[in-house]
Each structure stands twice: as structure tokens, then as C-alpha cells.
């Protein structure tokens, strides 16, 4: 980074050191008379203005030929005479302007390297001696890999797989020797973590250590490759690439159902589906002939994009953002290419034009979608793309029977009968009768269960203020008038312009149940059975009387007053009444704000109640003058509220609920619109959605291989193109990413960028050999994994010798085995596995393990983290519910991404917040407790035996005496302390701990230490 170079680490010696690490591998400064390092300087500092994109002054500096050719002012250099070379004079500032223009000058070391090269006669590879107008030599990554010869090595006995020959050849060239093989315990833990993401069990360790057969290790590898946990572990990097999460992202960040796709990935890895099919099905599984559910689920890969549902969003723009993400993700995942750079302008370094970008985008622009939702109150529109319903046979059968019953009940509800017509006529008379006299009740007591303040005014009306809980019940007591009560009335009152009837969003309210109790003078309260409820504008008010908290009486206009009338089964003659108004529904805080209760003794309580405007108009029209449409509308309305049909309506609600409760899993997928012509899209000027330019048609970038002959120019064709044998990038990118997981760095360190600005491979031949091997294995991945883990390279001890640390601190030469902190998911899984808490369940909906309060605070969502039950609390981290705006803290702290965008390479940090997590997070402390309990149960009673087992469960090896001693003395002191403080012992050991709490507490502290060892958190 430039800043530190200038400010802190300014020093040419150090810079030269860094440059050598980067360009050619550690410790060997490339001789300055070679062209490659000079070109690297030009590429980094000059090509932006003097390259394929721009040729300021006609000069290009992207090939040696071009440098020799020069620009408008003539040759840039004079071979052999650096002092006379125009280029040198300008980088020195002797000629103005000093180059690079308006940028910091080149470092002294860089200038020296360029001068040395020129003074040596500007040597270079013969093929680079091309005229500037000849085709520019292709960047290595855009040339199809050719299977290299396996190099000869001196120490051939060390070589176990061809990988080793490539690695060793380089080591021998550097004068380095490989490290000895790791111990059996270390190797077993390493390979078990790498292939399954879990540590080995003591039994597995014992078996491997005891197995003296020549193929003992191979047997282990084959066992692990066949484990169902292999797919879980290798799904993880793919989920990062695919930006898989369980919510839509952005402000609202609603839930989505994507886990079927996640399980598809795990299953595909476990089945070793060839990467070819794996790719085709995820890019265009829906377009395959005879595509089944699995292929359609797979096509959900590109449904993992964010989805913007914020108010006021332009839905077309929201969709466009998803398309952009689909292009960028495809380019990163399969091509290792930063195509995203070409969204706004031609790529500055790589051979991709802005048109190329939109041609790629066109492939995705023909997928089906629709726009849904337009609320009158809040702008609320969003993009909907296709979903699959994936019912089990039992679910499908039940669904069918529910649907049939719904149809039956619905037709009963819709039926017109003479009895109903008569009831309707009677109802119309009731509703048009003169209003009765309503006597307001003046509550003598008004109480809110949720802590709201209920103030009773002179006129009997009640106003709620103060706390407004999500759900509340108001209970009001009042004296009844002398005359028997034939009906109750609730008025929800608006007091414009400030006061709304309710306290919910925009002043809305919902009363989900009404309960009335009455008592005679001096008598006990008894429930008053209620017969009928109707409201002035809500046809569902009858649901006030049922127990279903999701139904009831609602109102949503902030400036409108609402009324409901409730009739008891028999007139209530009493002295006092207690009325409960419940809001227990889903919509949070929809409590009443201002309301009044009244009673009447009139036998005709329904008059003057009012009806929805349209219905009111019909009722007011004499029967004979009503149009057919009006008659129908009124009949429809009445059927919706007819007491005689309430039972059917209730049944319908139950059935619909049951349908939801069936929880038939869904999956997101893509579906292509029938295309009459080649998919196309407008180019966007400067990448802005609002500036459409020329229309471009789906096509692959011109600089890469062409669409295969059998491929149509559509999404399926794109998929076939990605896996075409002529694709120079995908096989390299794929094996490199696998390599990265094992060794902590890819052979190409910038695994997301194989372009000109990316790193050069440390072992180019090895990379190409692996890439061609992938193809010759029919693109199956397990053989590649097997090759890597069986290699002598992989099996080396990871010990750092002072020599290696000095020469190759990042282990790019691979003279030792990998050693680095395990990824976030493994940190959790190791703790759960060591403690025995881990559930082995594979697949299924995402789960909710313990998470501290307050993580899911989101102003635009009342979604809550609901702790899972039973074993679902202890599932592998890959199943943890992933919410994009509030990711699981135990994973993010260890650098897991939020999954908002494609992540090819995670950063790896070690921070104090991580230490606090593994020390104090209840998840990890519970694991410590369980590990302690397991140890006490499974080990012999001697403290050394216990410590040894617990240590082994964490690190796979036995502690050495200098490791055992501090553990035992710590345990001893903790035991003494807990014996002296039984309360602390119980707190640490947990409630209901069997046996002596002090012992379990002391061992819990020991287990807590062991789970925090560097070795436990590290793949060694």
C-alpha cells in the first residue's frame, strides 16, 4: 500500500524485498536485466494511460515490442543507453512533465531496474519482438492451458503425486528441501478438517496411529471423501461465492427460502457431480430438456442476489441491480475475471469492453419476473421471480385434500338459498332502522396489560398513551345502566388532524377479540356469551368473537372513526360489566389509541352503524331500483358477514392456516421467457441505469473463446460456454480455489482476479497441470482433492524453521505444510464436535442457535431470532440462519462475509473480539461445560488422564509434560476455589449438573482454556 510505503516503510531495501516476494517468489531478487519485472512496473504504473485502453502520446508500454516502437515522439528507449532514453528522462523528471503524470514518482528501485534493463540492451523473449500493431501477446490466463511435462527432480523418492514433482523442482531450484512429514495425529487432524470441516474423533486417531499398513493414509482419505460431511465443508466456499443467505438484504431484509438450493449444493458435492454439470445446472438448469426439480433448484444459484424492497425504489432499477450482480458473480466465480470494471467503461487493463459487459448481461435479461404489490399507504412494490413448490408425497396429498375442502366450503359459502335471501332482507331492515340510543359507559377502571396509560375522559372515551407494546389487552370496568343491555358498541375515534384511532403504523388499530363479563349487584362476574358482531366498514368483525388472534376488527385510516356493534346471546341485566379488548395479533403495536364503549337496550341495535360506502349506497337504494350488479355486490357482501355462514368462514380460515402450517418447502429458481429473438439489453452509459444507450445482443466477450457450436446464444449457451473445453479460465480458477482452501493461498494468490492486474501464479506449470487434470478427470472434483491431500507437499510438517521464515514467510514455495487459523464455520464446529454437542444432521431449513439479544434490531422489520429447539441448536455453522443486515456475530467476528456479494477470498484476521467470543460467548462456554462433562465421563479419574483426553479432543494429540503441568495446576487451583465457593461452582457448571459441581466447574475452566488454544483454532 502506497501510504505506508511513503510514510512508514520508506526504504529501498525493504521495497526490493517486497517486490521480489511478489514477482518471482521470495528471497531471489530477479536480475534486473530480465524483461518481466520491468513490464510489471510498466503495468502497475504506466499502462493505465499507455496501454490498450488509452495511448497518451501514441505510446503503449504493455509489451516489449511496443516499448521499442515508442510513440509520437519516437522510440521510448535507446537500448544500451538508459541516460539517453526519453522514458528514463521523463520518469526522472529531466524532461517535463515528470512521469507518471500527476502520480508519485517511481521508486528508486524501480527506476534502477528499468535503467539496468535498458543498459543491458533491453533484452526480452524473442516472441515479444513484435511491432506495436501486431496482436498484443495474450495474457497467460487467456491462453488455454497445455498439459505440462512433469519435471524431473533429484529427490524423486519424496514424490508421491505429480504435484510434488512440480513443487520439488521449484524447491530444488531455490536450494530448499521439503519439510519432513507431519506426525500422524497432526496429519489426520489436518486432512479431516480439510475434507469434512470437523476434527477427528479419538477412535479415528487411535485407528490411524495403529494402522501400519502402507495405504493407511489413503484409506483415511477415501473414508473422508465418502463422508456426508465432505459436502457440508466444501459447500461453504461455494456459498460465499454464490452469496447465499436466508434474507433479501437491504433495509427490509425479509426472509426468503433458499435452503433447498444450499442442500442441493451439499448433495452435489457429496455425489461428486462433475463440475461441468454442476455449472450447467446452476446457470441454466431450468432450460435443460426434461429439467426436473433438482435442476430447477440448482438454477436458484443466481436467485441468491440481493433484493431491494425499500419504499420508493424503482422496481426496474432493483431488478437491474440483480442483473449486474449476476454478471459480476458469474465472471468472478467461473472466469476469475473482474468484469465488473466494464460496467461503466471499457476495462482498464483486461481485454473487456463495456459492450462485452452488456452482452453478458443480456444473457440474464430474459429471465421471467413480475412486479407485485402496490399498497395505497406505502409505496410497496417489489420484483417477484419464479418459485418452486417442493412438497413431499404426504404434503402433496394433504394439500390436495385441503384444496378440495376449501373448494367445497367456498361453494357452500357462495351458494344462494332462500333462507339466506330472507336473512339478508331482515339484515337490510336492521341496518336501515333508525339508530338506537347509545349510552356511553364511563369506565370506573381502565387497565392496560402492557403498561400503557389509559385515561378516561368526561365523555367516557378512553385514550391510551405511554408505552405501546407489540401486543396489549385493555380491560375496562363500568357500571351498567338499569335497562337490560341488548348490544355493546365500540367506537375507535379519530381526532384529526393529530389523533388517530389506533397506535399502529399510520394510526391503524386491530382488536382481535372482545370478552365481556357482567355481574348483578353484589354478585360474581360471569362471562357473557356473545352472538354477533358487525362493524361499519370491516366485513370481518365477526371474528371479534373467536379466539383466533389473527382475525378481528381493524381500521387503518388515520383520520377516520370506526364503530363495531356486538350483540350478546341474551340481553344482559346486571349492575357492572368488565370488557376486555385484546390486540394479540401479528401486527405489532396495533393497539387502540382513542375509543369509547357504549350500550343500548334497544331491540334494534344495528341501525345507524354504517357500512362501507358502496354497500351503504346500495342499501339506501330501494330494492326495485338496484341494478343487477348492485344486487350481486350486496349479496356478496352479506354472504361475507352472514352469521349463518360464520362456521364455514371459520373453517375456511382454519384450512388456509393449515395450508400455511404444512410448510411445503419452496425454492427459488429462474425461468426463461419464451424468446423469439436473441436476448438483448440496452447498454448503460457510464453504467447508470437511468442512461440507456445502444441495444446490445447476448454474446460472450470477444477476447475469449467463442460460443461452442452446439450452443444457442442464451443462458444455457452461456453455461455451455463456461464449461467448454476451450475455456482457458474456468479449470484454472476452479483448481486454484481448491488449492487455496488447503494451503491458505492459491497458486494464483488473487483467486478472484486472473487478469493482468492479478498476481502471477507461483507455480504456473502446476496450475496448468491441475487444470488439465480436472478436465481429464471428467471435471469431477474428488479426484483433485484426493491428489492434493495424498501429495507429499500437503503432508509436510507445518513447522516454521528460522530459515523458512526468513526466505519464504508466506510459504509460497511450499517447503512446509499449511498452517493457519481455521475459517469461522470450523471454529464453531470444532468446539461443538470436541464437546460432543454437535448434531450430525445433514441439510434442512436454516437454524437459530444461541445469539445474544439485540442483534436483529431492524427498524423496518419485526422479525425475531427464535432460538431453535433440541439438536437444531447444535448444528454445523453452515446451517446457521444467515441474515444479511445482521449476520450471526459468532461467524462474522471470524471474517465470515455477510453474503451480500460474491466473495472469492475471505480475509483472515486475529482480533481481540475473537478472543472474547471463544472465551465468553455462551455457545463456547456451553461447549466447554459439555467438553468437561464428557471428559469426566469418558476418561479415567486421574487428572492427567482427564486433561489428556480433553486436550486430545481439541488438538488430536496428547499433551506433552510441559503442557500438562500448567493445565493440572490450573485445574487444582480452580477446584480448590470452587470447593470454597459452591455458588460459583454451580454457576460455572450449569444448572442440574450431576455429581459434584466443583469438579465439573474446574474442568469446565480447563476445557475453556483448551478450546481457546491457538492449536485448537488452527489447522496445523
Amino acid at each position: 500500500m502506497r501510504m505506508r510505503v511513503h510514510g512508514l516503510l520508506a526504504g529501498a531495501a525493504l521495497l526490493a524485498g517486497i517486490a521480489s516476494v511478489r514477482a518471482a517468489g521470495p528471497a531471489t531478487s530477479p536480475p534486473a536485466t530480465e524483461y518481466a519485472p520491468v513490464q510489471a512496473i510498466f503495468t502497475a504504473k504506466c499502462v493505465r494511460c499507455h496501454g490498450p485502453e488509452k495511448q497518451k502520446n501514441g505510446l503503449r508500454l504493455d509489451t516489449r515490442g511496443a516499448v521499442l516502437e515508442g510513440g509520437i515522439d519516437g522510440p521510448a528507449i535507446v537500448p544500451g543507453k538508459s541516460a539517453e532514453s526519453r522514458l528514463v528522462r521523463q520518469i526522472l523528471g529531466e524532461n517535463k512533465p515528470r512521469m507518471p503524470y500527476k502520480e508519485p514518482p517511481l521508486e528508486a528501485g524501480e527506476i534502477a531496474a528499468i535503467r539496468a534493463w535498458i543498459d543491458a540492451g533491453a533484452p526480452g523473449p524473442a516472441e515479444a519482438k513484435v511491432a506495436a500493431e501486431a496482436p498484443v501477446q495474450k495474457h497467460w490466463a487467456y491462453v488455454k492451458p497445455v498439459r505440462p511435462e512433469i519435471p524431473a527432480v533429484k529427490l524423486s523418492a519424496w514424490v508421491k503425486t505429480p504435484i510434488d514433482a512440480f513443487v520439488l523442482a521449484r524447491l530444488e531450484q531455490e536450494g530448499l528441501a521439503p519439510s519432513p512429514e507431519a506426525t500422524r495425529e497432526t496429519l489426520l487432524r489436518r486432512v479431516t478438517l480439510d475434507l469434512t470441516g470437523l476434527p477427528p474423533t479419538p477412535a479415528e486417531i487411535d485407528a490411524f496411529v495403529a494402522d501400519t499398513s502402507a495405504d493407511a493414509y489413503e484409506k483415511v482419505v477415501d473414508r473422508l471423501l465418502a463422508s456426508p460431511h465432505y459436502g457440508e465443508r466444501w459447500a461453504r466456499p461455494w456459498l460465499d461465492l454464490a452469496r447465499y443467505a436466508d434474507t433479501n438484504g437491504y433495509e427490509k431484509d425479509r426472509r426468503r427460502t433458499g435452503w433447498k438450493w444450499r442442500d442441493w449444493v451439499i448433495t452435489a458435492f457429496n455425489a461428486d457431480m462433475p463440475f461441468r454439470e454442476f455449472t450447467i445446472e446452476q446457470i441454466a438448469g431450468d432450460m435443460l430438456k426434461d429439467a426436473g426439480p433438482d435442476q430447477r433448484i440448482a438454477a436458484g444459484f443466481h436467485r441468491n442476489t440481493l433484493l431491494n424492497q425499500e419504499g420508493g425504489i424503482d422496481v426496474e432499477e432493483a431488478r437491474w441491480e440483480t442483473l449486474v450482480d449476476r454478471v459480476n458473480t458469474t465472471a468472478t466465480v467461473w472466469l476469475g475475471t473482474t468484469l465488473a470494471c466494464a460496467q461503466c467503461h471499457n476495462h482498464k487493463f483486461d481485454p473487456f469492453s463495456q459492450k462485452d459487459y452488456y452482452r453478458m448481461l443480456a444473457f440474464f435479461d430474459n429471465a421471467e419476473y413480475r412486479v407485485e404489490g402496490e399498497g395505497p399507504k406505502v409505496m410497496d412494490k417489489w420484483i417477484v421471480e419464479p418459485e418452486l413448490e417442493l412438497a413431499t408425497p404426504a404434503q402433496a396429498a394433504r394439500k390436495k385434500s385441503i384444496e378440495e375442502e376449501i373448494a367445497r366450503v367456498q361453494s357452500r359459502l357462495d351458494a344462494t338459498t332462500p333462507a339466506l335471501a330472507a336473512a339478508q332482507a331482515a339484515w337490510e331492515r336492521e341496518r336501515t332502522a333508525p339508530p338506537p340510543v347509545w349510552t356511553p359507559l364511563r369506565p370506573t377502571a381502565a387497565r392496560s396489560a402492557g403498561g400503557a396509560t389509559l385515561a378516561v375522559a368526561e365523555d367516557g372515551s378512553v385514550t391510551a398513551s405511554g408505552p405501546n407494546p407489540e401486543r396489549d389487552t385493555y380491560t375496562l370496568a363500568a357500571r351498567l345502566p338499569a335497562a337490560p343491555v341488548t348490544a355493546f358498541r365500540i367506537d375507535a375515534l379519530a381526532d384529526p388532524p393529530r389523533g388517530t384511532p389506533g397506535r399502529g403504523d399510520y394510526g391503524a388499530f386491530a382488536v382481535t377479540r372482545l370478552v365481556v363479563e357482567a355481574a348483578p349487584a353484589g354478585g360474581r362476574l360471569r362471562a357473557v356469551p356473545l352472538a354477533r358482531a358487525e362493524a361499519d366498514s370491516d366485513a370481518n368483525a365477526a371474528a371479534l368473537l373467536d379466539r383466533d388472534p389473527e382475525t378481528g376488527w381493524r381500521g387503518s385510516d388515520p383520520d377516520h372513526s370506526y364503530a363495531a356493534v356486538i350483540q350478546p346471546q341474551a340481553a344482559v341485566a346486571g349492575d357492572r360489566v368488565v370488557i376486555a379488548l385484546e390486540h394479540q395479533g401479528k401486527q405489532p403495536r396495533y393497539n387502540l389509541r382513542h375509543f369509547r364503549l357504549s350500550v343500548t337496550s334497544s331491540p334494534h341495535p344495528w341501525g345507524g352503524l354504517g357500512l362501507p360506502e358502496k354497500v351503504q349506497a346500495i342499501v339506501a337504494t330501494p330494492r326495485s331500483q338496484r341494478t343487477e350488479a348492485q344486487r350481486k355486490e350486496l349479496a356478496d357482501y352479506y354472504r361475507g358477514i352472514a352469521p349463518a355462514r360464520e362456521r364455514d368462514r371459520q373453517r375456511l380460515r382454519e384450512l388456509r392456516k393449515e395450508m400455511v402450517a404444512l410448510a411445503i418447502p419452496t425454492a427459488m429458481t429462474l425461468r426463461e421467457r419464451p424468446a423469439g429473438e436473441r436476448p438483448s439489453t440496452p447498454l448503460r452509459v457510464r453504467g447508470a441505469f437511468t442512461s440507456p444507450g445502444d441495444r446490445v445482443y447476448a454474446a460472450v466477450p470477444a477476447a475469449l473463446h467463442p460460443l461452442p457450436e452446439n450452443a444457442m446464444p442464451n443462458r444455457l449457451g452461456l453455461a455451455l460456454w463456461l464449461v467448454d473445453e476451450n475455456n482457458p479460465l474456468t479449470p484454472r480458477v476452479t483448481v486454484n480455489r481448491i488449492w487455496e482452501q488447503y494451503f491458505g493461498r492459491g497458486l494464483v494468490e488473487t483467486s478472484e482476479d486472473f487478469g493482468i492486474q492479478g498476481d502471477r501464479p507461483s507455480h504456473p506449470e502446476l496450475l496448468d497441470w491441475l487444470a488439465t487434470e480436472l478436465l481429464s478427470q471428467g471435471t469431477r472434483l474428488k479426484p483433485i482433492h484426493r491428489l492434493i491431500v495424498l501429495s507429499a507437499t500437503y503432508r509436510q510438517s507445518s513447522r516454521f524453521t528460522p530459515e523458512l521464515l526468513g526466505r519464504d514467510p508466506y510459504n509460497r514455495l511450499l517447503a512446509r505444510g499449511p498452517r493457519f487459523r481455521v475459517e469461522a464455520e470450523m471454529v464453531r464446529d470444532i468446539a461443538l464436535a470436541a464437546s460432543g454437542l454437535l448434531s450430525g444432521k445433514v441439510g434442512g431449513p436454516s437454524v437459530f442457535p444461541f445469539q445474544p439479544e439485540g442483534i436483529w434490531d431492524n427498524p423496518y422489520s419485526d422479525d425475531r431470532w427464535q432460538l431453535s429447539d433440541g439438536e437444531d441448536r447444535y448444528r454445523r455453522a453452515v446451517y446457521t440462519f444467515a441474515r444479511r443486515t445482521a449476520p450471526y456475530p459468532g461467524l462474522t467476528v471470524f471474517d465470515a462475509p455477510s453474503r451480500e456479494f460474491c466473495t472469492a477470498r475471505r480475509v483472515r484476521t486475529n482480533t481481540p473480539l475473537q478472543a472474547l467470543t471463544t472465551l465468553n460467548d455462551p455457545v463456547f462456554f456451553e461447549a466447554a461445560r459439555a467438553l468437561a462433562a464428557r471428559t469426566l465421563k469418558e476418561a479415567a479419574a486421574a487428572p492427567e488422564e482427564r486433561a489428556a483426553l480433553a486436550f486430545r479432543l481439541c488438538t488430536a494429540r496428547r499433551p506433552k509434560p510441559p503442557e500438562l503441568a500448567p493445565l493440572l495446576s490450573f485445574e487444582e487451583r480452580q477446584l480448590a476455589r470452587f470447593r470454597a465457593d459452591p455458588e460459583a461452582a454451580r454457576a460455572v457448571a450449569g444448572a442440574g449438573a450431576p455429581g459434584e459441581a466443583a469438579e465439573l466447574a474446574a474442568w469446565t475452566m480447563v476445557a475453556n482454556v483448551l478450546l481457546n488454544l491457538d492449536e485448537t483454532l488452527t489447522k496445523e
Partner: protein, 484 residues
């Protein structure tokens, strides 16, 4: 040379330093080969990526307190006085200004809404401030008001993310991340970038507002929570006393050291150091949060009530954080989104109450920093993610007065840290609709803030996906009139 490589090397530097400090023998010779000791700045800490680092040039400010008013305060009611708008109150907005404009909620022809609040000039500088901000009015001579900021985003989440990261889509590092990445932190016991929340909830942009994007995650803002533990898992489990934790960490460290001798991986040192920092934070964070011990005069000044979740408490905490060497403190106070759909989001009731929640403490912070001699080295920034329309929103015919989102002109202010005190920079048109003089965009603000911190904004870069990224993307000009 790559940024990442520099960072890796820096880690090495720190490790090396740690080796020397703690006297571990392994690897010293090897590392000395790689990294020449005389190249290192002396440092008192072994905090790894937060090692203090020298800026590009002499900085004006050492630390920043950013008071982020999430939801977007109304500039025309607070800091951008528009008499003409009041004159035209209730008339239709001229079509040419809103034609083709995308609003979040306004539909049809909107009507102009003059501010119902009085403005007056204050201080020597005569800066115009609304009656809603009486406390700010007392410090205007220490403040620079910038009335001509514009942004490209008109929805909260993308606009907040833009204001914080220079890009509207999540995934880029935030200002605080860039700063701690570039400058490290002066605090050994606390994170370098701390976020404090008050008001209605999290900002709409969520944690992405203080995310580290593609920078290593150590640089993301650490949100001190206002309920429960201020830092997650700071508290030992029940029954575990500090001395037990100390003893267990001694055991962890001893075993790690034993293993280090065998293994030689310098990363084990980093882990030992981070466990020690974690232990120190267990003490330093509660001590920091203990504002109850501040003298009564302080509580009187800020309006703090210990134990409450409030902006005032967070302002006081911000000062305490800066005193302890933290580089960047960001306060979010959410609730400024005054559309006028009801009495709880209008400019008649709600805007004054938001001002009451924040004005006194924000002014107190500046006064307090000044009286402690910290204002010169601390830059205080106040502002939201966009402005509000000079038009009444009247969503669905609402009778409440309110304003829609307005990206074209809004006002922020800064104090201390090398700004020119007492100036008002930038002018909007008569209606406050467009910035017409000294218009600046978000990147210009960022460039200026970085400049005050001693950073040349074009040079603070990070290589990601083949490109050198920076906070100011490909633009950014210094706002010279703002710089003292």
C-alpha cells in the same frame, strides 16, 4: 506494491516488535533478515493492525467524532434560511425544478413549504441558525457550516451507505475503516473505530454503514451496544471472576508459548497479543462506559443521565473515547425522517423534539472538547445522508407538515480539527432546492475530512478485485473554503 502485502508486512513488523518486547527468542534472527529494524516507527503497543502509522503530511486532526443524523434532518428548517420559500409558502412548486425528478413519496405537483421556524444570526461570525438549535447558536464561532452538499441517492439505506463509504451499494469500506486502516489507532486498550447508537434504532443502512468492505474485518467499526454488554461477550460467564479469567489466560498463553517454541509460527504471537488486548478491554471498556463518575457539571453540560440510551450519553462517551486515543467515533441518532404522514414524523412536533434530543449535547461536546484543549486535534462532523424537499410532502393528502427526501442540497457542519471556524460555505437557490455556489458532493467532503487527518485522499488505496479502490472513488476535491 500491493496494499495487502504492506499490511501483511506490517503484521510482521508488529510481531517483530512483540518478539523484542516480550523477549521470545524464536525467529528473531529470521525476521531481522526480512525486516530491518531501523525502518520501524517506535510504538508503545503491540496491537497489530492498529499500530499507529504516520499520515502523508502533518495532520490538523488526530481523531474524528462524526455525529450522523440518520433519517436526514431538514436543512431549510435548521441551517439554511430561505425567506423566499416562506414567502411562497403553499404555492405550487415551479414545475421546472421538480419535473423528471424521482421522489420517494411525492406524487403530482407538490406545494412549497416555508419553514415555520425563525432564524437569527449568532456570534461574531453572524451565522444563521434556526430557533430549533439554541445550543448550536452558542458555538457558531467554532463551527463551519457547509450548506451546499449534494448526493446521488434519495433512499435512506443507499444514501447512508454512500455517505459513509463513497458508494451506494454495500461492500466498500467506511470512512472510519479507511482511517484506522491508514492511520491505526492510538489506543492500546480499545478498538480504533467505535460506533454508538441512539434514537429510534439502527440506521437504515445497518452495519454496512460502519463496515470494512473489502478491507480486513479488523477495521470495521465496533458497535458499543447500549443494552447489556457494550462489547459482545465482554463479560466473563457467571461464576468466573476476573482473577479466574487472568489465571485461565495465563494457562492459555503458557500453552501457546510452549507451542510457539516448537512451531515457530509468528501468528501465535498475534494470538497471545490479542488475548491480552481482550483481557484489557474487559477492564477498559466498562471503565470507559462508567460515565456516572463524571462530575455533576459535566452531566449538566451534556444533559446526560447515566444508564439511559441517549445521544447525550453517547456524546460524553465519544469525548471519553477520544481522550483514550480512539481514532474514529461515530454516533448515529436515528429519527430525522420527517415526512409529515402523522404527528410523529412531522416538522411541527417531531423535528423540534429531535432537536431537543440532540442540540444541547452536540454543542456541549464541542464546548467540552474546547475547554479540554482537544478541539484542535478533534474534528467533529454533524450531518445526515441527504436533505429534505422545500416542498410539503402531503402523502395521501396528509394534513401534517413534512418534507420528502432531497438529495440535491443539504447542510452539514464541522468543528475543530483544522476547519476554518465561523464560516458558512456554500449557497443554495432561493428555495433551497439546488446548491448554486460552492456545490460539493460526498466525495469532496470525504477528501476534505481525510485531508484534515493528514491523508491525501488519492493515495489511500486498497487493491481489490484487480483495482485500486479509494474512499473518494475517482473524484473528490478539497473544500478549500472550509479548511483553516
Amino acid at each position: 506494491m500491493k496494499d495487502e502485502r504492506g499490511r501483511e508486512l506490517l503484521k510482521g513488523v508488529t510481531r517483530r516488535h512483540f518478539f523484542r518486547q516480550t523477549g521470545f527468542g524464536i525467529g528473531v534472527a529470521a525476521l531481522a533478515n526480512l525486516l530491518r529494524e531501523d525502518l520501524f516507527l517506535p510504538s508503545a503497543h503491540a496491537a497489530g493492525p492498529f499500530e499507529p502509522r504516520a499520515p502523508h503530511f502533518a495532520p490538523r486532526a488526530k481523531s474524528i467524532i462524526y455525529l450522523f443524523m440518520a433519517g436526514a434532518p431538514s436543512q431549510v428548517d435548521l441551517l439554511d434560511h430561505k425567506p423566499k420559500l416562506s414567502e411562497l409558502n403553499g404555492t405550487n412548486a415551479p414545475e421546472d425544478i421538480f419535473k423528471g425528478e424521482r421522489f420517494a413519496f411525492i406524487r403530482g405537483t407538490p406545494r412549497l413549504l416555508g419553514s415555520p421556524y425563525r432564524f437569527a444570526r449568532h456570534g461574531q461570525s453572524g451565522a444563521e441558525v434556526s430557533e430549533l438549535l439554541p445550543h448550536l447558536a452558542t458555538i457558531v464561532d467554532d463551527v463551519a457550516i457547509l450548506r451546499s452538499v449534494h448526493t446521488t441517492q434519495f433512499n435512506h439505506a443507499p444514501a447512508q451507505i454512500f455517505m459513509n463509504t463513497g458508494h451506494q451499494i454495500v461492500g466498500r469500506p467506511s470512512l472510519g475503516s479507511w482511517l484506522t486502516y491508514g492511520l491505526g489507532s492510538e489506543s492500546a486498550d480499545l478498538p480504533g473505530f467505535v460506533v454508538l447508537l441512539s434514537g429510534e434504532n439502527q440506521p437504515d443502512g445497518g452495519k454496512s454503514c460502519w463496515g470494512s468492505g473489502f478491507l480486513p474485518s479488523v477495521y470495521q467499526g465496533v458497535e458499543f451496544r447500549s443494552k447489556g454488554d457494550p462489547v459482545l461477550f465482554l463479560r466473563n460467564p457467571d461464576g468466573v471472576r476476573p482473577e479466574d479469567r487472568r489465571a485461565s489466560l495465563d494457562a492459555v498463553n503458557e500453552l501457546n508459548r510452549t507451542h510457539l517454541e516448537e512451531q515457530g509460527d509468528p501468528e501465535i504471537h498475534t494470538r497471545i497479543a490479542s488475548y491480552e488486548m481482550a483481557y484489557r478491554m474487559q477492564t477498559s471498556v466498562p471503565e470507559l462506559m462508567g460515565i456516572a463518575k463524571e462530575p455533576p457539571a459535566m452531566h449538566e453540560l451534556y444533559g446526560t443521565e447515566p444508564g439511559q440510551r441517549s445521544f447525550a450519553n453517547n456524546c460524553l462517551l465519544a469525548r471519553r473515547l477520544i481522550e483514550r486515543g480512539v481514532r474514529f467515533v461515530q454516533l448515529y441518532h436515528r429519527g430525522w425522517d420527517h415526512h409529515g404522514t402523522n404527528s410523529r414524523d412531522d416538522i411541527v412536533n417531531r423535528l423540534p423534539s429531535l432537536c431537543r434530543e440532540t442540540d444541547r449535547a452536540a454543542a456541549a461536546l464541542v464546548k467540552d472538547l474546547k475547554q479540554r484543549g482537544l478541539l484542535d486535534s478533534t474534528l467533529v462532523v454533524w450531518g445526515g445522508e441527504f436533505g429534505r424537499t422545500p416542498m410539503n410532502e402531503e402523502r395521501n393528502g396528509s394534513k401534517f407538515l413534512g418534507r420528502d427526501h432531497h438529495p440535491r442540497a443539504f447542510t452539514i457542519w464541522m468543528a475543530g480539527g483544522g476547519i476554518k471556524p465561523g464560516v458558512t460555505v456554500g449557497t443554495t437557490d432561493d428555495l433551497g432546492y439546488n446548491a448554486v455556489e460552492d456545490a460539493v458532493d460526498v466525495h469532496d467532503v470525504h477528501a476534505t475530512v481525510l485531508h484534515l487527518m493528514g491523508i491525501e485522499h488519492t493515495k489511500l488505496t486498497y487493491r481489490f478485485q484487480g483495482r485500486d479502490f479509494r474512499l473518494t472513488d475517482v473524484t473528490g476535491n478539497l473544500i478549500e473554503k472550509l479548511i483553516g
